[in-house]
């Protein structure tokens, strides 16, 4: 297989541009995580999340829905949440909702794809984020 030089250069430049756009948010997020982790004690999270199979992923899904940004950032946040003692249930729901639900982008989505479609898609994605989290936990325990 022959690699086309021009096409490769274009691919590198495209990848570099999208990473360059993500970088300030990523840097800011890591700075914020470091700050919050050292300011808020771990006991706070254990009080907030009570290992309830419905409430915990609901909070995770809700947090993920109102957040926006590159999925990479959600993985970093999710990893830090796990380090802080937050359960896999909440973290999974958070990551799935971050990627699939977009409350901030909802006006743009509804204008481009239709209001009804955007609302239904976001609601189902929100519910499925909770279901995916529960399934992930069950499969992890098996």
């Amino acid at each position: 297989m022959k690699i086309k030089k021009k096409k490769l250069e274009e691919s590198i430049s495209k990848a570099w541009k999208s990473l360059y756009k993500t970088f300030p948010v990523l840097l800011g997020t890591i700075l914020l995580i470091s700050f919050i982790t050292k300011i808020i004690p771990k006991s706070f999270y254990t009080k907030l999340f009570t290992n309830n199979i419905i409430i915990d992923p609901f909070i995770g899904s809700l947090t993920g829905s109102i957040s926006a940004g590159s999925p990479v950032i959600s993985y970093i946040l999710g990893g830090e949440f796990l380090n802080q003692g937050i359960g896999i249930l909440t973290v999974t729901a958070f990551i799935v909702a971050w990627v699939t639900v977009g409350l901030i982008q909802l006006p743009a989505e509804s204008s481009l794809l239709g209001k009804k479609f955007a609302i239904i898609r976001n609601i189902t994605s929100f519910i499925f984020a909770i279901i995916v989290a529960i399934i992930t936990l069950i499969l992890k325990l098996i």
């Binding site: 096409k7 490769l8 274009e10 691919s11 590198i12 495209k14 990848a15 570099w16 999208s18 990473l19 756009k21 300030p24 948010v25 990523l26 840097l27 800011g28 890591i30 700075l31 914020l32 995580i33 470091s34 700050f35 982790t37 050292k38 990479v72 970093i76 830090e80």
Partner: protein
Amino acid sequence: MNIKKIKKIPKPFYFLGSIIIVYFITFILDRNLFNVIINYFYEIFVKVIPIFIIIFILMVIVNYFITNKFIIKHLNQK
């Protein structure tokens, strides 16, 4: 009269800027806490860099092989 266009600062930089201000305030108020936070930031940042390199390589591969034409060709069956 020519009015020079001022380049708008991208929104992500506002986010980064505001967090740097918070760090600056922390540095003034409590230097020990600032050092602890910066060390922790460094730990995470070092962990993230190799992941970012892998993501960059994957993005280049995807951009090279999966072009807009390719997607349109395979999604435009109906």
